[in-house]
Amino acid sequence: MISLRQRLQCLPLLYGGIAAGLMLTMITRVNRGAELAMAMLMVGMPFLLAALTGLGKTTTA
């Protein structure tokens, strides 16, 4: 069981994830050269997520 304290301790992590996402979007808006990198990230991100989910599911019975 996750305690309330543990849950609240995750808030900075989640905000960090949102901030990182917004920062990446800002970078591509300001720097046109980063558009390709962003496109690659958008293609690769679902696969990274799929791989991490597969790895994470190892922890369940």
């Binding site: 996402g21 958008m42 991100m45 679902p46 997520l49 991490l52 597969g54 922890t59 369940t60 019975a61």
Partner: protein, 205 residues
Amino acid sequence: MIGTIGSLVQETSNRWRWLLSASLYTLACFGSASLLGTMLGVLGQVIRGLVHGTAFPHAGAWLIGLLAVAYAASDVGLLWLPRPILRHAVPITWWRWWGPYRAALAYGAALGLGVMTRIPFGAFYVLCAWCVLKGDPGYGALLMGTYGAVRALVIFPASWGLYCHRTAVTTWFSSPLFNLWRAQRVLAVTLILFGTLVLASAVLS
């Protein structure tokens, strides 16, 4: 998972039998996950043909983005969201009933589907929704196949670790590598990053 399929991990006493069992398990896991992705892609294609007509509707990007953010919050216990599953765990008795090869195939096929064990990671549902929204069976097979392959391939380092360190499955299972809470936090951050990127793209397009 390693706890349930421990017999497969501990088959290292007979190398050929272990290799065959582990390979069958990997193939079945990859195959069933790819099949799930294909079916979701076909479902998306059908919905697209019936309702919208475009490959990736704008509203769909919003939906995926919001779903990713919400499930990330749910993963760390800040929000309750439904997590539909078919079973809570695969039965450990399959080893006794079917022997190493048929059981390896059965476990691989069941675990590759994802919904045969409880799902503490909302990313799984987001990936399924992403496959439907893309509406491409090939893409769905590739994406969910990645999930299935990574899930199955863990069996090889796990078996090797047990073989080298001569520890029991339960000892290995309680190691930091299999810390669920840690995995949930890592997945939640990745998921919220993904959701933010998708949402930002939808807003700015």
